[in-house]
Symmetry: C2
Subunit: 235 residues, 2 copies
DNA sequence: CCTATAAATTTGTATATACAGGTTGTCAAC
DNA sequence: GTTGACAACCTGTATATACAAATTTATAGG
């Protein structure tokens, strides 16, 4: 197991504390000076952790005052960098495999161009359904190139974030990406999985996700019924 | 005029250079060491500028290699921090005022709670239509509290980014915000303005935007037809 | 009690430095 | 020519330090 950088450890600790409500919205986080002493770190290191929390929307900083907790970014944070499951972080959020990972040739990648190496390697394709409160919320179609992923199809992705899975199994981490948003009418298949009526408007999200492995991209298409839950993101 | 911090100056300079294509996608930015010498700055200062460019999606960094230009974030960047008009940056992108700014009492703020001071001050309300290629794309409803905005209603917001306007006229800058995304069926009014058929699915975006002025928020609701253009964002 | 001033606290900006770790190119050995 | 070792270069992480600027708290004076 690889050791996380120290600023990352502080970030994770504070992030978890906020997520669990140990720091409530409106509370002041310990001052940078305090955090330095608690973790035996220099101020720039602690500041790096806090900067990350700011950009993730967990806290706000005010000069002369301190770091004010805003709380965990609410809702279904699919618009943020974190993987869906980890971002949601609710115990009643389940993932159901509709179609197990299988190898097939590339046809298209949700409108995104794919490079020659990806085309050559073939496509690992699988479909998952995300369920919250016994109600289906996402229909999630994922495609990734079959490059350096031994035994991928034999693993079970049930209730595991794909991003965490790639990180722990293959040391692949997400570095960014782009996404396209559309409002569409649900077709027959989406109606059945998402339990919506005929012609209901649903969100379609096409994502191309970049990773630490050069040339390795994850292509993801998400259909989402926003009748009960809207997608929420902070910026 | 206030002097920008030095890391911000470097950020703005590089950002502009990338936007103008002086660094093309795929190019390597000068190394941190080079940038330090050019701007006579220490490395942490330059790194702070580069970190910002990374999080804004302009560049990618690779250890041992350098900073690779990705280019200016494309598409209709309504999901990003920048204001709509400035983010789009296309000459054929027009803003038409549907309802001029007027003062009215607050009724609701697109589901977001408003604080007592905002409630007390009253609401500046206006509606705009964003047009691209002679086709309407956004219907944009904006509400902001009438706090310290002298003569606001007398200005003309036509073809001016609200964010730029607030910054230049009132020194109010956007620091962040949250947004909620829904897929809905267009109602009669939205149909007419967006030129879509009855019952067409459209995107609804509710945003609460935070500013450098404490307690001053901008509430914005956007309806968007994604038939021709999908909303695009990077992360 | 209230007010104005000063001090303490806290975050913002900036520098200088050191070493670790990944990438690329060079150059000698085979 | 190919390989392998090494050097040069680049970003990543971390520390120590200094001063500026905003806020809060304490203090002294009325």
């Amino acid at each position: 197991m690889e050791e996380l950088p120290r600023y990352r450890q502080v970030y994770e600790a504070l992030r978890q504390a906020i997520s669990e409500g140990r720091y409530a919205p409106g509370d002041l986080l310990p001052s940078e000076h305090d955090l330095c002493q608690r973790y035996s770190l220099a101020r720039p290191t602690v500041r790096k952790a806090l900067d990350q929390l700011v950009s993730d929307g967990y806290i706000q900083k005010h000069q002369g005052k301190g770091s004010i907790v805003k709380g965990a970014p609410r809702g279904i944070g699919i618009l943020s960098l974190s993987g869906t499951t980890s971002a949601v972080g609710r115990p009643d959020f389940f993932t159901r495999i509709i179609l197990k990972p299988e190898l097939r040739p590339w046809t298209e990648a949700f409108g995104f161009p794919i490079n020659a190496a990806e085309q050559q390697a073939g496509c690992i394709y699988f479909e998952r359904l995300r369920v919250l409160d016994d109600a289906p919320v996402f229909l999630d179609i994922t495609m990734l190139p079959n490059i350096g992923l031994p035994n991928f199809t034999s693993y079970n992705l049930e209730n595991a974030s794909l991003f965490n899975f790639l990180r722990t199994q293959y040391q692949i981490v997400v570095t960014g990406g782009m996404q396209q948003l559309l409002a569409i009418r649900a077709d027959k298949r989406q109606r059945e999985y998402l339990h919506v009526k005929s012609g209901s408007p649903i969100l379609q999200l096409n994502r191309k996700i970049e990773t630490s492995r050069p040339g390795f991209h994850i292509y993801s298409q998400v259909f989402c019924s926003t009748r009960k839950y809207g997608l929420i993101g902070t910026f």
